[in-house]
Structure formats: C-alpha cells, structure tokens
C-alpha cells in the first residue's frame, strides 16, 4: 500500500501538469487571435489595390479587415481608378471576387458625367456597376 501511494500521487501530479499545459496552450492561442483582429482596424486609411480595372485607390475614415478577403470601409469612403471615381460611405469590398458594394448614397464620376444613386454594387471582374433606387446621370454628351 505504502509503495502504491507515491506512484499514484506522481501519476496525479503528472496529469495535472499535462492539463495545465493544455490550458496554457489554448489560452495563448485564443489571445493571439484577438490581438490580430484588433490590429487591422485603421483610421483615415488610404491604399492602392490591384483589380481588373487596374490600380484602384481606396480610402475611408476607418477600415476594418473582416478576414483575408473582405474589408469594410466605414464612414466617408472612396474608390478611384482610371475608369471611375466612386464617393460614398460604408463600402464593403470582397477582394476575392472583385466586388464592392454599399447601401448608402453614392456619387460616381466617369469620363461621361456624374451619376448619383441610392446604392451600388460594383462587379469589377465583369466591368459592370449596378445602381439601385432613384438614379440620376448627368452627362456632358
């Protein structure tokens, strides 16, 4: 009995150490994730991205990186390239599918004129921009 007790005690201590190691490992892992999410929120942001329309300059009052392929431009935001200039707010960008969209009022300037709409979806890979709601396009044709 006296020989069995120390062995049992050692086994229990070993198990406790293993459990503590696991707890430490998982806690450390989750805290890293939180840290990385906080690090991708940037204020007064502007950058250049490469899309089918060429180099597009994007900017906003605040940028939130949702994941590797999705970002959201919060507050007053813009997308500018050689084909168009889009000025709006709260623009969501799907980098993987080259799609940007907003449910807020938008103004677009292209080589033909100025367009105002209530929302937009820009399918950049197809070369199409869909404007919804009341749309007014004044051209200098």
């Amino acid at each position: 009995m006296t020989k069995f007790f120390p062995k049992a005690l050692n086994t229990i201590i070993f198990l406790i150490l293993v459990i503590q190691t696991l707890i430490y490992y998982f806690n450390t892992k989750s805290s890293t994730k939180v840290f990385s999410q906080k690090s991708v929120s940037v204020e007064n942001f502007s950058s250049i991205v490469l899309s089918k329309s060429g180099m597009t300059k994007i900017g906003s009052e605040k940028l939130n990186k949702i994941d590797d392929n999705n970002i959201s431009l919060e507050g007053i935001s813009y997308l500018e390239n050689s084909k168009y200039k889009i000025y709006g707010s709260n623009i969501f960008i799907d980098m993987e599918n080259d799609v940007s969209s907003s449910k807020d009022d938008v103004e677009v300037i292209n080589s033909m004129g100025i367009l105002n709409a209530e929302s937009f979806t820009n399918l950049d890979s197809e070369g199409k921009i869909l404007f919804k709601g009341k749309v007014t396009f004044v051209s200098h044709d």
Partner: protein, 152 residues
C-alpha cells in the same frame, strides 16, 4: 475688371455646353465592357434634341477623345418623345445619333398642334424635318415634310 470678364465668360461657356441626362426610378447598370447604360423604371432621357420617357432604356456609347458619347438610344414600353411642339408615342423607339433619326414602332402616334396621326411605324428625320408614318400592312403611308421655315 479682367477677372470679372473671365468669370462671366466661364459662366457662359459652362451653359453653352450641351448636357444630357438619364433618370431612372428603379435601377441603372453601367456596363463598361459592352459600353452601355441600361436604365429601368420610369426612365427619363434628355439630350439637346428631345426629351423621352419610357419603362426601360438602353443607351450605347463610344469613347471619343477620352470622353464617352451616346450613339444609340433604345426605349422600351410606353415610349413618349417630346420634340419641340410634337409628341411621338410608341411601344419601342430607337434613336441614332449619327443620322439624327428617331424610329418608333408598335402603336405609334404623332401629335402636333394641328394634327394627330396614328400608325405602326414612325420615322422622324430630325435633320431633314421629315416624318414618315406607315401602317402595319404597308397599305397606307403618310409622308410629311414639315415647313422649311421651321428650324430644328
């Protein structure tokens, strides 16, 4: 003094430039690959020649000297075109900028202060002040050459 003259000249130049517009009640799609604009729902289109109303519009454009210019405008369903004191109506209309001709088909009518004519097809030649109205079976044809004094 020179500064004021320049400002006035800029103001005059701004308003001397022709301006057209498209208004849509539901949606508008800008397709830069097909070089077209498609407008849906209570569409209103105006250029320096006429103002048009329809349910749907497809306008094609070309690029000239880094600017886009409408070349063909198609109008669908309940088309109304107001050109000076004339009103054209039809189910479908197509305007080509190159020859300045509006062609309407469907239940077509042409209304002016002095007459109302109806038919199946109307060809309005704006530059030559000419209107050709055909019936559906081509049995009747009305060709009207407007007063030469009436300028476009």
């Amino acid at each position: 003094m020179t500064k004021y003259i320049l400002i006035i000249l800029l103001f005059i130049f701004k308003y001397a430039q022709s301006e057209s517009y498209v208004k849509a009640g539901d949606s508008l799609i800008w397709d830069s690959e097909k070089q077209s604009y498609t407008a849906n729902g209570d569409v209103e289109f105006q250029n320096d020649k006429f103002i048009a109303f329809a349910d749907k519009m497809i306008a094609e454009y070309i690029e000239q000297k880094d600017k886009e210019v409408f070349t063909i405008v198609e109008l669908f369903n309940d088309v109304i075109i107001e050109f000076k004191d004339e009103i054209f109506k039809g189910d479908y209309a197509i305007y080509t900028r190159e020859d300045n001709i509006i062609k309407l088909t469907g239940n077509v009518s042409i209304k002016s202060p002095t007459r109302l004519l109806t038919g199946y097809e109307l060809i309005a030649d704006i530059d030559n002040n000419k209107r050709i109205l055909n019936s559906a079976d081509d049995e009747s044809l009305v060709e009207v050459l407007l007063d030469n004094n009436a300028k476009n």
